[in-house]
């Protein structure tokens, strides 16, 4: 049977891995992302997502270089995102060794590009990144462009529309939960999982291994974390052992050192 996946996310700014707290990125964790990938590879994580959160469009080429260096040592599926605004850059990232493209802002600004990428590279290649944030009136809405622009859209409806445009997977994050150490936004996660047929990856807020279990129980097919994996030796192995002990079917590899 298909296993639930444990995904390590790397948030990259100007070539370095950074910590993310409510979408602000200050602390550099590892200078070199390749070192982080080597650890995750050794610890048998199931998949890796790397996101370029730089606010400068000029970061695109440098990031593609990071993808290329990482992919040489990455023998699990690699999803990459940030600044995918045209077909050539998308193709460049795939040529650099990425398996999947994570798209966010073009879901709002350029839906035909999402459709075109899905047609050209296949649905399995397109991951829709859905970022949600609670607004002043207390409603959870979708935000795009590194959480700088509210859309007013409901996350579940937005995810459904992303699938219609050709996304094969949803990567859900909450600005309010990101780096807040209180687990995923389970309510929104559950609504998204109920709204789409494609796999949903939960992200944002993991501070204990039990948070991962909660994500699976809310309906996620895969659970992702970033910050927590960087500070603990054999972190992903401990996480997997915890999931297995909680009765979640995970890949057996990577539970023991």
């Amino acid at each position: 049977m298909l296993k639930k996946r444990l995904i390590a996310a790397l948030i990259i700014r100007e070539g370095a891995v950074v910590q993310s707290v409510r979408f602000k990125h200050t602390n550099a964790i590892h200078y070199d992302p390749v070192h982080a990938i080597e650890c995750f590879n050794k610890w048998a994580v199931d998949e890796i997502v790397i996101l370029n959160v730089s606010r400068e469009a000029a970061s695109r080429e440098g990031f593609a270089g990071v993808v290329k260096r990482i992919s040489r040592k990455c023998f699990v599926p690699l999803s990459v995102g940030g600044w995918i605004t045209d077909r050539d850059y998308a193709r460049g990232l795939l040529n650099a060794g990425a398996d999947k493209l994570v798209v966010n802002t073009i879901l709002a600004d350029d839906p035909p590009l999402v459709q075109a990428l899905s047609r050209r590279f296949g649905r399995q290649c397109i991951v829709a990144s859905v970022d949600a944030k609670r607004n002043e009136s207390g409603k959870v809405e979708v935000v795009v462009d590194r959480a700088s622009r509210p859309t007013g859209a409901d996350p579940a409806g937005w995810a459904r529309r992303a699938v219609e445009l050709g996304a094969g997977e949803i990567f859900f994050n909450s600005v309010d939960h990101d780096g807040a150490r209180r687990g995923y936004d389970l309510e929104t996660l559950g609504r998204i999982c109920a709204a789409v047929e494609v796999p949903v990856i939960a992200f944002g807020g993991v501070f204990s291994w039990e948070h991962l279990v909660e994500g699976i129980q809310a309906g996620a097919d895969a659970v992702a974390a970033a910050n927590i994996f960087h500070y603990t030796e054999h972190a992903t192995m401990k996480a997997k052992r915890h999931l297995a002990q909680a009765g979640v079917a995970v890949r057996s590899e990577g539970q023991r050192a």
Partner: protein, 218 residues
């Protein structure tokens, strides 16, 4: 000078040259990275006349069956591959590459494949609690011994991404299976022909071992 067969054998394993067929379908760099990791020499090969320079062939592929066959045909690669396969050169099909080795596929119509394996490619059946495409890590059970799976534990998880499946006429061709609402053909072995529906290059330790086996033991 006295012969030193053991050393000669080791050297020949190291110098095995693998052609990765480059016909415009999918992430072939990953396959090359994985081969480099296990110490194999490989090249991306787009010119059919160059296949003769190699000892083994990997036929990768992600995408639609019909497009892939058309590209192989137009490049003259279909005929070159057929010739090498007939001559007994080991070939490893990966993902769509495995499906292309079959007689035909029903993906978006009806398409003829390379026809090396007596099998049809049909859509995965939707079933309760199962999502299509089949994407993620799944447990593979080996159906028979093979040099391709030496040193890999039965029940190892491999990474799959596919919406169509291979159904063999002759069960003896099936090397491995997995469960996804139904029993799915995960690996094939037929003479010098081998194939995996999953992505060994993305299946970490087990996948790398499989590629190493293809280079060194097949």
């Amino acid at each position: 000078m006295a012969p030193r067969p053991r050393q000669a054998r080791r050297r020949s394993a190291v110098s095995t040259r693998v052609a990765i067929v480059d016909y415009g379908m999918g992430n072939i760099w990953s396959v090359q990275n994985a081969l480099a990791e296990v110490g194999a020499q490989s090249e991306l090969v787009a010119a059919p006349e160059r296949l003769g320079e190699f000892d083994k062939i990997i036929l990768p592929g992600v995408g639609a069956f019909g497009d892939a066959m058309r590209l192989l045909r137009e490049a003259g690669m279909q005929r070159a591959l057929e010739e090498k396969a007939r001559q007994g050169m080991p070939v490893l099909g990966v993902c769509l590459g495995m499906q292309l080795m079959c007689r035909s596929s029903t993906e978006n119509g009806s398409h003829q494949g390379l026809g090396w394996i007596d099998a049809e490619v049909i859509a995965l059946e939707p079933a309760q609690g199962v999502k299509i495409p089949h994407m993620g890590w799944n447990t593979v059970r080996f159906a028979k011994p093979s040099p391709l799976t030496e040193g890999i534990a039965d029940g190892t998880d491999f990474y799959f991404v596919h919406g169509y499946q291979v159904v063999c006429k002759d069960p003896a061709d099936v090397l491995g299976t997995c469960e996804h609402g139904q029993r799915v053909t995960a690996m094939l072995a037929h003479g010098n022909l081998f194939a995996a529906q999953f992505h060994p290059e993305k299946s970490q330790r087990g996948g790398l071992q499989m590629l190493k086996n293809f280079v060194e033991r097949v």
